[in-house]
Symmetry: C2
């Protein structure tokens, strides 16, 4: 859903420099490009959890999980610079970088005998998910996919077909079925029952596919359900659905592009919070702190059904420079204790945000894990009716107070608070103060 967007009719209110840049964009960039905000932000510098615009204004970045260690983290800059000066070529020659990184990456995975996890590297999350869906088809012999009703898994033809978040213009694949996300707040279902409720939906979708002669290939999900509105709790609820998928001969693809790399604080991977060992795991955004790198980790037996028949070569995937960036990220997450940090500072931040409920009826729910938080804005906490207009107005107010973020969820009313892991306890004051002031300014 594309809601937080600059549109041509906003141009009149812009300063001449910003307006000139928006006009240059419309002249030469494709119409699919969208800018955030009615008054777009012209960024020139980033450092840690902060961004700076052309006028020197400082922003608190509550949105960008790609620069996960913090913008321009020196460990990544140094590793990439060093490797760029030395060698950057492809995986048809031997190089230790890809092997050292893979060994290290697999230590973060559930322990399986050596050779049971196999890694492959690409450049984007879309490429990782596209390959995972193809592998799932090869292994299962099926064509059917299940995703959630507001899921986003990529921009390729195949992944777009399981990405309803792209909007009504994007057709859903005829072999795909959508299930409602496990939303405790909005369904009102007992948290202890949400896993069974969700598994029932998945079971029904499989039945619907089978009734039309389509065998299940895969259930694909981001285990914090970011696009569906940030639905991390209670940890564990996903396991029952995965059992249902496997019983039907399908695989579970854990799309870790959002929850992976220590973001949730509780575990290094989102799937681990649910006690699941996936068949295929896809990695993306934060993996290289901004250098394009993505990956797929698969069970050997599942992957072999594909790789025995079809070669796969990704020119830039797994190159020494991308691997150097990825290694620097993994090393720094450990060296700076970012997983424990995300857990502690995220939890403290949510306590403060919870406090806003007392002064602002519009704050319906605050939920999250680690540094991934959803804050739901409603017309009234009793009815829980989503207030999308308010959410959009709050985004603009926050922007004016130097806090950058965006919205998620089927109703576009959930503030998605997903800062670099460099976010500090002291930043909470800025965030909570700006939110408090924004709601007050809007009379809510």
């Amino acid at each position: 859903m594309d809601t937080n967007s600059f549109r041509p009719e906003h141009a009149d209110g812009l300063d001449p420099a910003t307006r000139a840049l928006t006009e240059r964009r419309s002249a030469v960039l494709g119409g699919s490009y969208r800018l955030f905000y009615r008054r777009p932000v012209h960024l020139v510098r980033g450092e840690g959890q902060y961004l700076f615009d052309a006028d020197g204004t400082k922003y608190l970045d509550m949105y960008n999980n790609v620069a996960s260690l913090g913008h321009c983290h020196p460990a990544v800059v140094e590793a990439v610079t060093r490797q760029m000066q030395l060698l950057n070529t492809h995986t048809r020659y031997l190089h230790e970088g890809i092997l050292d990184y893979t060994d290290d990456l697999l230590t973060t995975f559930p322990a399986l005998p050596t050779g049971e996890w196999k890694a492959m590297y690409m450049c984007t999350g879309s490429e990782a998910n596209d390959l995972a869906l193809r592998v799932a088809k090869a292994w299962s012999g099926g064509e059917g996919f299940i995703a959630t009703t507001e899921a986003y898994h990529g921009t390729s033809e195949l992944t777009s077909g399981v990405s309803p978040a792209l909007g009504s213009g994007q057709p859903i694949a005829p072999t795909a079925r959508l299930v409602p996300a496990p939303d405790v707040y909005r369904t009102g279902i007992d948290p202890a029952r949400i896993g069974a409720w969700f598994a029932d939906r998945v079971r029904a979708a499989i039945g619907d596919l089978e009734a039309r002669g389509t065998k299940l290939a895969a259930f694909i999900a981001d285990s914090v359900f970011s696009s569906d509105g940030v639905l991390p709790a209670p940890a564990g609820y996903l396991a029952e659905a995965v059992d249902v998928v496997r019983a039907a001969g399908g695989v579970f693809i854990a799309d870790e592009v959002q929850p992976g790399f220590a973001r949730t604080g509780e575990e290094f991977w989102g799937f681990a919070r649910h006690g699941i060992v996936p068949d295929l795991v896809t990695l993306g955004k934060p993996m290289g702190n901004g250098i394009p790198v993505s990956g797929m980790v698969a069970r050997d037996e599942v992957l072999a059904a594909f790789s025995d028949r079809i070669p796969y070569f990704n020119t830039f995937g797994g190159n020494p420079v991308s691997m150097a960036a990825a290694q620097a990220v993994l090393t720094t997450v450990r060296a700076e204790g970012l997983q424990a940090h995300a857990r502690a500072v995220g939890s403290a931040m949510r306590s403060e945000l919870d406090g806003l409920k007392e002064r602002h009826d519009a704050v319906g729910d605050v939920r999250g894990a680690g540094l991934f938080t959803g804050l739901e804005l409603v017309t009234d906490p009793a009815t829980r009716e989503p207030d999308r207009d308010l959410a959009l107005a709050v985004l603009e107010e926050l922007r004016d107070r130097g806090v950058l973020t965006s919205v998620a969820g089927p109703h576009g009313n959930v503030l998605k608070l997903r800062p670099p892991l460099a976010f500090q306890a002291a930043d909470t004051d800025w965030l909570v103060g700006a939110l408090d002031a924004s709601l007050t300014a809007l009379g809510r």
Copy 2:
């Protein structure tokens, strides 16, 4: 076609260090990964047109067009380092880098009124082609694709379906039709007639699609037909087929991942050699000299049919660091006069290679444009029968003489000579000498 590959049975002949690396690869990397050579090369350093292995052995790189300016070119290293220290974020904020680059890029395109060319950025050639094929479907209302019998256009589900070079395990899309490539040498057709001959094949494919109720969406081709065996001549032969495609309501997608960015010497783009103005142009490999960046340039009217309905956001695509790398490439190609250089040095190299025919009957044909050359190995120049076994043996002999390259074409018998544009006249001696000695050593 995957021919130049290490296989487990080659392991016995390896030194312990190389063997250990191949074993580490099999343990943790997916089985789709392939290594070049029976004795794989363990590279640790690159500089200009040269690569160096762990033992300090120097190689002449005749294969890697990604490091197009030369390995580790300081202009790219500096531009990327500088931008990485400053800011790396996405296209939903304003940034001048993407606009300056696009303006500069479009000066290399056929002149159209401002706004008639629109650019979008991704990370890989596969992503660019996947999007181009989707745009073609949206604009034409058709589903049919035409590609050549040994084409390679990418690794996504959609692009794999028009990439028969992936081998018999990869299904061709039911809506795709394959046409033989315009191969003057192997068909024996008069060069003046090859354009009409090829247009007839395309016309027949369109007829076959229409007979099955499938409307044409696009004809996609790399205008040097790299995977089909390097078929650049005579320039201009592609125009008639493109007219046929347009008359049937389809678009022409110029896949410039191979011939683009001055490689052919004669023009900056491969399509320009044929006097064509394409509907969609896809850019990749050499665009960032190794930093993952790709792009699609489209006619506004064609792209609008897609972008009016469907949002497209590529997280890493068009980010300031990728754009800095791409800008450094464009600037350096001009500053170092690499297009004229490619033309002169490539032409001189082919004269020397032609001279080998006098001493070696196995050299059946030498053809190319700029620094893109195909050298065809045959059992006998009269029969022109392809000699694939010889080609594979020559690759290994060349490797032992420090020259790295690989093979292409439906018969796997065409040496693909595609060095960084940093290749110099003096390197021709090494290449030609090594080839001469390799053929002699093999008794040919």
